[in-house]
Symmetry: C2
Subunit: 714 residues, 2 copies
Amino acid sequence: MQQISKSIKEGALAFLNAEYRLLLVFVLIASIALFFVSQAVETTSWFIIPAFIVGAFFSGLAGNIGMRVATDANARTAEAAKTSLPQALKVSFSGGTVMGLGVAGLAVLGLSLIFLFLMGQFLVEGSGKFYEEMTIVLEALAGFSLGAESIALFARVGGGIYTKAADVGADLVGKVEAGIPEDDPRNPATIADNVGDNVGDVAGMGADLFGSYVATVLAAMVLGNYVIRDMSTLTQFTDNFNNMGPILLPLVIAGVGVLASIIGTFFVRIGSNEAKEATVQRALDIANWSSIILTGIVTWFLIQWMLPNTINMDFFGEGLKEVPSRHVFYACLIGLAVGALISMVTAYYTSLGKKPVLDIVKNSSTGAATNIIAGLAVGMKSTFWSVLLFAAAIYGSYALAGFYGVALAASAMMATTAMQLAIDAFGPIADNAGGVAEMSELDEKVRERTDILDSVGNTTAAVGKGFAIASAALTALALFAAYVTFTGIEGINIYKADVLAMLFVGGMIPVVFSALAMKSVGKAAMEMVKEVRRQFKEIPGIMEGTGTPEYAKCVDISTKAALREMILPGLITIVTPILVGWIFGAEPLGGYMAGVCVSGVMWAIFQNNAGGAWDNAKKSFEAGVEIDGKMQYKGSEAHKAAVTGDTVGDPFKDTSGPSMNILIKLTCLVGLVIAPVLGHQDDKGTSDNDFNEKNQIEVTIDESNHRAALQDVN
Amino acid sequence: MQQISKSIKEGALAFLNAEYRLLLVFVLIASIALFFVSQAVETTSWFIIPAFIVGAFFSGLAGNIGMRVATDANARTAEAAKTSLPQALKVSFSGGTVMGLGVAGLAVLGLSLIFLFLMGQFLVEGSGKFYEEMTIVLEALAGFSLGAESIALFARVGGGIYTKAADVGADLVGKVEAGIPEDDPRNPATIADNVGDNVGDVAGMGADLFGSYVATVLAAMVLGNYVIRDMSTLTQFTDNFNNMGPILLPLVIAGVGVLASIIGTFFVRIGSNEAKEATVQRALDIANWSSIILTGIVTWFLIQWMLPNTINMDFFGEGLKEVPSRHVFYACLIGLAVGALISMVTAYYTSLGKKPVLDIVKNSSTGAATNIIAGLAVGMKSTFWSVLLFAAAIYGSYALAGFYGVALAASAMMATTAMQLAIDAFGPIADNAGGVAEMSELDEKVRERTDILDSVGNTTAAVGKGFAIASAALTALALFAAYVTFTGIEGINIYKADVLAMLFVGGMIPVVFSALAMKSVGKAAMEMVKEVRRQFKEIPGIMEGTGTPEYAKCVDISTKAALREMILPGLITIVTPILVGWIFGAEPLGGYMAGVCVSGVMWAIFQNNAGGAWDNAKKSFEAGVEIDGKMQYKGSEAHKAAVTGDTVGDPFKDTSGPSMNILIKLTCLVGLVIAPVLGHQDDKGTSDNDFNEKNQIEVTIDESNHRAALQDVN
């Protein structure tokens, strides 16, 4: 048992190390690019480079710690499952908790340290230029976020390709051709498959949420600075934080969320050894809701303490408005509620026994084609409520407190990231524990217990994906808003042809990105299939269990393929916004970002939920399911059709779907980092315009109106 | 043979009649709604109601004529194929030509008549209010376009559901369960299947292009009116058309396109009876390019004649610019070129023997799952060039001549609609002729000849779908631009939260619409399966050919199911924009329209091309195809996997994919029709705004700047 667990750990770390080597090259190139950015504009200091490197390092560190803990926890969970189910839950969930706290803790720590350091560097007491100085601080802090998100790109996309290549390869030759069960130690790709669970589901999800967490807080800080600028033109602005409340608030909420998550984890316990899935699920639900509610309550007091009673905010196109600080709190509540609701919608569309999954099951009886059509339709349909909720969140939180409200809604949603990750990471740990138990030929009781945990883990994984999308989308929007303020453009008008054209180009990127990711899985899986076939043929006694398969070779193939295949989609993600901004300017880039977000959110929800639903439609046959009055089990024709559907869904839900999160966030982050350069360019651009004079007049008038409005409020 | 052809015709007309009954109800409700619109705002006259009814009637008439001709032509083509291949091509293409000319001719005729009538009603000589009066004319003319597009909704969505329900039902029970060949007269669903080809591919495509044609010309006229308004503030505006050149130009180009198409059809002839697909394809290509080039040449002279040498156009945000009239011509060339190029991209991704299809073929050898993943990836990837071309068309034609240029690019692209439809409709006619030959047990030579035509028809069908998407997308954009001018808003700023939220909601609609369309096909097909099974069981001697199947019952099932299932998606398409506009106002509705367009274009291209590629991947096995050095034929495991892929692709390419065209156009048309109401509302909305005064000032200043700029130009 120790041996197998060690192999998984080694494989996982081998992947991480290979990834870090590739990352080193990437970080070097990106640093050079950032150097040019910092040279090009005054407001971008060269501190963005170390911030970027530290961001990448912290995110990598969090992933590394998480992977170590998770891979350690699987053997210990299998061991604990020998004793009892409550014990197994405790051990596996502890593993998840360490992962979650590691990610969230490092994110808050990293952000705070760099922010404090930069403040020391750039803020000059009484200079009267707080807004400008703070902009330089936040611009450099964006480097930290960019570093974190870059790691997420590698972990999510590379990890996603890795896990599915290994999974498909192991299944196609092992289960289908050789007829040996899943997780059988005779299968050379078994270790790679288990490594993949950790690399994709644990490290990938961790890096994804680390990135969202940091980016959300950053965007809220940028918008907070904007709020302060508008307020500091007034006299009565006072808060308890040296007039910095709006900037510090998101950071403090993040810190509170970590504490609330820790308190929440105490609720994860079950009494009985005979507990079923529902009991375990309820324990997790209680923990989750405790931390959410606790965060909500503390946020109320934080806002009372950190913000002035009324805030004067600039609502685009409507000018300054007086906003009571409790409106900011309501915006936070919207974020908390919408995060939970979108998770619930996701659970509905992907859960066993619910109508969508049952519909796919029913359509499996007429073959693979109808199963697949039904699954695609479920994925498409699931966008309805998710997007309506999301749109309501944008609309509501903006109406309450402008784009600062939108960003704080995102921050509040992300505050309990530690808890979300704990719940999410516990699934793969239990899954791996089952694999370890199978491979070490432990008592059947052990496998039964880990299976209960694994089954709960499947639901939490789907829910976690819903949370990850919702948070990524809201994060992207907050970044989008921050982008507009950084460039200093008036807005993004899609009635301009170049902006409209880029909206379409942006809308196309997630679709092509998904295609690339799916093709990559296919290519990598084919390599794996060939290697496993070779080993079965060439290693004597492998099928009898007397010869040892070369696990490391399969791990190596997955690793290399994953890293090779992620280069093109990675480049597209990072280079395209730079090109668009460079060629067309700031406003068209805004259109591009919006296009990526709109299309990316649809494709993320579609692919994740279709994949999750297919997976559980297949699982329905394991316990037996009734179709047209007849019970159908594993091995039936309908089950075979469901297996086909699940195979199609695998790259959807584990590779291309979750990659969308990174795509939309990274697009907006790259935009944010190059924003000051674009703003700069635009100034030059206008100067040789025939109608410059007219623009000048308008700007001046706008300014004076702005002042007049400010005085009005006074 | 006569009998079978008659049954198909009767079935098709039965569907159309049932459709018209449902339409009558719809037209009644819509007329009442339009009545309220015309009461609510001054600029909308009640003439919009008769215009709407005439538009619906003309579109229905065009479909009816086309269907009669097409269903007549199939028996005559089978008859002609007894003689020779050139003769069969001549007869089948003549059928297509009549259809094409009927659609285009009625469109131009209807538009012109109503336009002339309305001009007589509303234009007052020397009133000095040309722009306002012409706005009333065009607003009422929008009713004609709305009527036409409503019919397209019924024909495309209803027809799409019809054809696939019959097809899947016929195949599942006939081919798979009973083991009888396709188009076998013993299959009760055979007639319904053949009716479906006409209803979906002929009438659906005809109504779709009729709608695009009319909407494009309308949008160009609206933007032309805007051009005239800006110009008539200047003194030197003179053209040969009583200062109406910019409005009349799109209408005249459309008329010229019809003539050019007629000339083009003379080139469709082949000499030899031994000709292969390539020869037939070349004859069609020559005809197509002749009419395109001819249209281009005549357009050059038209523009010289109808427009002043330089036009002063308002470029949003940049003010008035002097545009030489030849720039308008270049914009038209862009439209012609991009239409042809997007068709070529579509052909590449869906043609036999090209890399994308071969890739799907290769992935069929490892089963249905890999076949489907490969097909999905092909569909996704195919968005890349299509969208880039499309974005370039927007950017280029706007840079040349503003949104008027974009609308004229669309008009030029649509000008050869008659030719496109002729090429498109000839495929189903040849397909049906083959069916008739099969069912009447004619000589094998006949089937061979019709098969050659059918095979060419498959390619032209895919290309035609590419053209239909490109034209729908460009039409929607032109309508979108016309919408903005009609509402009188300053632009559509997605940095406003309500606009942004509606952008996301709009992006979700095509995805949910596709899901509904796909589910509808599944439901309708299941009903068909049950009926065919019942007949096989209950009608004595049916399998021996002594008992006659009840064809009419199957036709009836498809008809009822299609009409029932299209109500919900139809309602969503029409009601949602009204709700969005009513609740949130003009600018958020603009965001919604943009969201529908961006997302709809992606899903249209994705679904059409994936479906087309799967279809031809399956067809590749019929002639035999090499996979990994081994020849694979019909009946192999790989072929079975390809059949599964094709079944998934069927609703993609024939139902949900083409429906996207209607969705995006109708959304923008509904927006355009309610635009004056929204503009009105907005005026009221602002009046109780705190910052009204500021707005007032800005508007005034804008006006005076505008005048100053005008004088500058002078």
